[in-house]
Symmetry: C2
Subunit: 575 residues, 2 copies
């Protein structure tokens, strides 16, 4: 094993005030774990541009949280500098925070046609319309303050993705967006523009910012063509209906399913709201080409023979109430699974979803279907990643030949391994920076350095209609109750004498099933009486102190009897 | 793709009473998802034997649950038939339920020396001693009722594993236990006995029960020797300390680390309780061979040069307070991570643990260590599975040549894919049964069939000292509170007039942070007053009904204002 020493974000010697601000700043913002993915900013003098504005899905310990969005205080404090928002592609982790943050930023957005369409659909859900979106396409150049931005085509798992070349007073910055090199994608126009990238090197690139998602994966990511071949193979030999699920945003995958349907003389029915919505917008904007009479209504599947049907559905992650999960549970109105059905799960298993996905697979097997998924498909590539693997990442660096390199779009370990790869290609390790959200890299007079200070770059939790109102205290309480439940002890006392007026009321949820443990409930009630008379000798009683003491003693009492630690809340009601 | 029609556990036509009970019954019991792993029983006439007695770790949705153990009502009702418990190896999912269930079963246990040692350590934690454990070794034969059981050596990721050949009045049943074919294991005595298995075919095997864990994995599981080579390679070129984590029960892996340490003139220090405990018992029973002066106390690491040290630690799954996690957080007393350290995570990532493992890796990187783990180790096998992959599973079937085949030790999709493999080897698909826990397969006069009736085979939840006292209601409450929190509305009313005596008290946890939303708290209080006066016009008031109405109305009120649905508990206190 080769050990590479990388420049880590350690505290650096303090810079003098004058040297800390001048030049080009690169600052990844927000997100949770993933760096520079949901949002990244470039700042020079009085100009700031924002790249992407996405959400993260919360990790499991953030109980009940719907999304996580970037904390943009840094931008709000510099609103007058902000010149525009550029969106690289239409995935949730790049567009999803716009409904929450756009009003605060309130500057024009620049993106491609499909991405703009997806943003508009999203904004409509929030009743926001009339967004100033400017359409761009690969080859276009725009100027935002001092920044001149040129767009180039990259291939990824959704159509119409772009990378950026940003001409700054300090030199050229290349931002790959999410990408892979697929020389035979579903749509031949959607190849990453390798010629354009190769020509960049001649223009002397100061900095490359590159997608790190698959930096741990050796070799090359297989081409989407391999999926086409696998689907063709399976559909061609399937005895009955073929039910296919994938991510609804994988428009190119949907195109391949349509192509296979046409080839094998099958109709395609669609089930699941996001799948229908995405197909509609892709059709409307010309990103999906479907011959006449191929699409049929899901309610009409009974009119066709089993071997004349493909059913394209949501549910690739085993999502509750998704079309595939309803089918697996026997609850789908139009489609009842039966022996002879072949189900293809054409997607990866996102960590955390394995349980739900395998439950769905097990239920499909129980109903007699054949199920083909990533882990039992052997040599058939029924899904490929949309991100570049190690050899492609090296190729990107070799094409662009940057002076400096900052890996983005990944967690710290992805960035670290990407940085290692960069050094393996020959980059000087002192010119490779592994940074975290909120860290600033300053380029000044051709020299880059990590600044010692960080900008605010936390995240904001979205729960229901609340944005930012669930914080650590609420989350900690949810975690505590999730594990051990809660016990509320209500003591109604005479305001004058401090004596109990009624027997204490005990409310418990998630701790024990009270009806089956009346013994423990009664013991607890006695214990509360005992504690209250023990602690309330003083007059007037110091209720806050007494509550604290009862909480502690009652907690210990319950732990002794159950080895569990419910959240204990004593309530004193003075009448 | 080949589609294989398997005999599924569909309801069969009812058998006549006489035919339903006679013969040999195979019944997988308990567990959760995995079939026949935690416990499997063989029943013939008046004799029952139990194979394994393990726990499952609960899925995430079972909030706060420590373990899941099999429901053994079927055995308790037939206690007089029970002749013995056989344990195939010392992993938790095969021994872990003994402290909870042994008293109820109360029959002798038969197992190998190391497994017995591990069981005894476990029982001591529960203050249970004097267990009637009978030691067996491969080649031994015992008789339990009508069953004659012969043990044979299998290789797995813990030493001293056995498979079973059970001679029954209906014919020979072979149970593989957990196994792989490793022709070059860490300990050459620990190879799966391929010669013995080949000879079994001559004796006509009625039924093979075989480990399905890796039935989705193509090819062969690599040999433990490959791990030895990888460790040798990494340790040989590491510039400083090498810190290695693995599963503490992987005694053979620990042996390989010791071997590499000796070869590279390094001392070995150990940190983490389960690692120390497992090494001690393996040393005591002769399953680990360590030259004198190789092991040193963790507190003495400072006395050695960095390149003279290997530190063997717990924490391969990112477990809270484990040695590696303490090191990654800078909290370990004896070892502070620094640049030059190499950390090897020699284990798989169990689904659900990715978050914690990657957090640990990220923190180690931040402290300057080099980290090598399954996903960035490229061609180096720093961990191999202990279970047979598809080609080995086929080989097992080819060696044993059973008439019937039942895949065990896996979830339904594992069993299904294993069954498919069995059919590919040439077994008649009508003689391959995919069954679930509680289903019974009856062999009678040479013919096997799945019985239409199931036996009770649920699971029992262990939470703290409570076994079985947390059921669906408590779990559902935990899930609800985890997602949206709880709001308790306490209304103290005059017992005579039914009028409120004080302003309603509101207790909320995990819903909103009340101090920051006093507006909502006040609105809620007003709403409660309003609802109460609206509903309590009747005299005497129907409090149970009023509570139900307030719960509903208040829930809707809160949802309207927050788009969240906390658990609402109205409490009426009459004074």
């Amino acid at each position: 094993m080769e050990t590479v020493t990388l420049t880590k974000p350690k505290p650096l010697p303090k810079l003098s005030a004058s040297s800390s601000g001048k030049g080009l700043k690169i600052i990844p913002l927000g997100g949770l774990g993933e760096i520079g993915k949901n949002m990244l900013i470039l700042e020079y003098g009085n100009d700031i541009i924002v790249i992407d504005c996405g959400i993260m899905f919360p990790p499991e310990e953030m109980l009940g949280i719907d999304f996580v969005i970037p904390d943009i205080r840094y931008l709000e404090e510099r609103k007058e500098k902000l010149k525009g928002i550029i969106i690289t592609h239409g995935h949730e982790d790049h567009i999803g925070a716009l409904p929450y943050l756009w009003k605060k930023l309130n500057v024009p957005i620049w993106t491609t046609k499909l991405t703009a369409g997806l943003i508009e659909v999203k904004m409509e859900e929030f009743n926001i319309s009339g967004l100033p979106i400017n359409l761009i396409k690969p080859g276009d150049k725009i100027k935002l303050g001092v920044f001149e931005i040129e767009f180039f085509r990259v291939n990824h798992s959704i159509p119409d993705c772009v990378g950026l070349v940003i001409d700054t007073p300090e030199g050229l910055v290349v931002h790959t967006g999410d990408f892979k090199f697929d020389h035979s994608p579903a749509n031949p126009k959607e190849k990453t523009d390798i010629g354009f990238l190769a020509n960049l090197a001649k223009r002397k690139v100061l900095l490359l910012l590159s997608d790190s998602t698959n930096a741990e994966v050796p070799g090359y990511t297989p081409s989407e063509t391999e999926v086409a071949e696998a689907l063709d193979n399976i559909i061609g030999s399937a005895p009955g209906r073929v039910i296919i699920t994938s991510f609804a945003s994988l428009i190119n995958r949907i195109q391949q399913v349509i192509n296979a349907a046409v080839k094998h003389h099958r109709k395609v029915a669609i089930s699941g709201r996001t799948m229908i919505d995405n197909i509609n917008i892709a059709l409307k904007l010309g990103y999906l080409s479907v011959p006449k009479d191929v699409l049929i209504d899901i309610r009409d599947v009974k009119k066709y023979g089993d071997d004349e049907l493909i059913i394209l559905v949501t549910g690739s992650q085993g999502e509750e109430r998704s079309a595939l999960v309803l089918m697996a549970g026997g609850e789908h109105k139009a489609v009842k699974i039966k022996p002879g059905d072949t189900v293809i799960i054409s997607s990866s298993m996102i960590p955390g979803n394995e349980r739900s996905i395998y439950n769905t697979i097990d239920n499909l097997y129980r109903l007699g279907a054949e199920v083909i998924y990533s882990r039992n498909s052997g040599l058939l590539n029924i899904h490929v990643s949309g991100h570049a693997a190690q050899e492609e990442l090296k190729m990107m660096i070799e094409l662009v030949k940057p002076k400096y390199f900052i890996p983005i779009h990944g967690e710290y370990h992805h960035l670290y391994n990407h940085a290692k790869i960069a050094v393996q290609t020959g980059l000087d390790s002192s010119k490779v920076f592994v940074i975290e959200n909120g860290q600033q890299v300053l380029f000044s007079q051709g020299r880059g350095q990590i600044l010692p200070s960080r900008v605010p770059a936390g995240y904001v939790l979205v729960d229901g209609s609340g944005v930012g109102d669930v914080g650590n205290i609420v989350l900690r309480d949810r975690q505590a109750m999730a594990k051990e439940g809660i016990l509320v002890a209500i003591m109604t006392v005479d305001a004058k004498s401090g004596k109990l007026l009624t027997s204490p009321d005990i409310i418990s949820r998630g701790f024990i099933y009270m009806r089956e443990r009346e013994d423990l409930v009664e013991m607890t009630r006695q214990k509360i009486k005992e504690l209250l008379s023990h602690y309330s000798y003083q007059h007037p009683a110091n209720w806050p102190l007494i509550k604290t003491l009862i909480r502690k003693d009652l907690g210990e009492f319950l732990y002794r009897h159950t080895k569990r630690k419910p959240m204990v809340i004593p309530v004193i009601i003075e009448v």
